[in-house]
Structure formats: C-alpha cells, structure tokens
C-alpha cells in the first residue's frame, strides 16, 4: 500500500503509549492497532485532527507516500 502510517514513530517521539492515545482520541486499542499497521481503508479528517492534536504534529508526520 503506497500510503504508510508512521504512527509508531510519532508515539515514540512523544513518549506516548498506544492505549493512551486510543483513549484520548476515542478509538479502541484494536482499531488503533489496525490504523498503525496500515490495514485501514480510510481515515476520517476528524480522526487525523485528533491524532495531530494529541501528538502535536502535522498530518505529514503521520502519513507518508511511498510508491510500490
């Protein structure tokens, strides 16, 4: 999949755990795991906004395009 989700990297930089972030943005830990592995079909802007707010980052820090 050309879109890579670098959530693990940002979580490490901000020293935050997955379940912590999941609780803050209103996702289950299971769904956040699915998001981290890039198996999602789509991400809502509201979810992206919540992630960027909690991790104090830009969407480009979370999402990366890499051609196959």
């Amino acid at each position: 999949m050309p879109i890579i989700i670098n959530l693990d990297v940002m979580l490490a930089k901000r020293k935050m755990r997955s379940n912590e972030l999941a609780e803050k943005i209103g996702l289950t830990t299971v769904n956040l795991s699915i998001l981290k592995t890039g198996k999602v079909k789509a991400v809502r802007l509201a979810t992206l906004e919540a992630i960027c707010k909690e991790l104090d980052c830009q969407p480009g820090d979370i999402l990366e395009y890499k051609e196959d």
Partner: protein, 178 residues
Amino acid sequence: MKSISPVRNVANILYHLTRGLTIIYWVIAAYVISITILAKSGVKGLPLSVTNETRFTIYYPFSKTPFFLLQDERTFLVTTFLVILFYGLFLVLLLGVFDTFRQKKLFTPKGVQRLTRFYLANFFLPVIAIIILLLMGEPINDLLIITFLHVVLGIFIYFMTAIFRQGLELQIEQDLTF
C-alpha cells in the same frame, strides 16, 4: 434509546415461527419416513393399516386416528420422500435467511453465505429431483410448476445475494474507516 428496526422485528417473528415449524416438520417427517421404512421391511405392530392393495394409512402415535395417507407405489414414495427431504432442507436454509435479517449488522460474510446456500438450493435441488425422477422413468408433470417457482425464487435470491456482497464490501470499508 435506539429502537429495533421494523425489519429486525419482522425477521425475529418469522425466525421463531419458522424454527417452530421446522422442528414440527422434521419430527413428522422422521416419524412418517421411519414408519414407512419399517413397514416395507416387514416389521409388525406399527401404527399403520393397509387400506387396499396400494394404499396405507399411518396413524398418530399410540392411536387409531389417521394421520398420513401413502400409496405403496415406487413413483409416489420416491416423489414423496424427495419432496419431504427438500422442504426439510428448505426450512432449515430459510431459518438461516431470517436469522441474517435479525442481526444488528446486516452485511456479514455469514449472511452472504446463508443467502448463497439458499439460492443454490432453490435453483439446483428441484432440478436435480426432476432429473432423478426422469432417469427413473417417472412422470414429472406434478412437480414442474413448483420447480419453476423455486427456480424463480432462486434467481430472485441470487440478485439479493449480489446486493448483499456489495453491501458487505461497503460494510468492511466502513468498519475499516477510522
């Protein structure tokens, strides 16, 4: 408080009605088939009486009240048993279809599988039964109309299954949208 949809309510009622009917049907079918097989095997003391050379009556258990009339002819017995087995299976598959419609999530892989089995059974089983009877040299006139109706039902459910497959794809996308 979210109310249960009318579709789920109707499906729930139909599911429980069909489940009761299926249980009763299979009990009766098992009774009739076992008594007939035992009678043909020469077992005595069964709740049945021979009306004339070709007809016999099965009674209710432990009574002399007539319950089921059968003709002791190969055509009649084969046709009757094929019909009994088909409609027994039909009721079980129909139960699965109603159960699909009473679930909270409508578009599931299990639901698509149930609809697929239902349309395949309606489409192919009556046709296979007709072929069996033709190969046995038995007349099929009585079964042609009912076979046609089941094939039409099978086609209709086939289209519904296609819609459900599309719905399932959209459901998966929805579920994997965060």
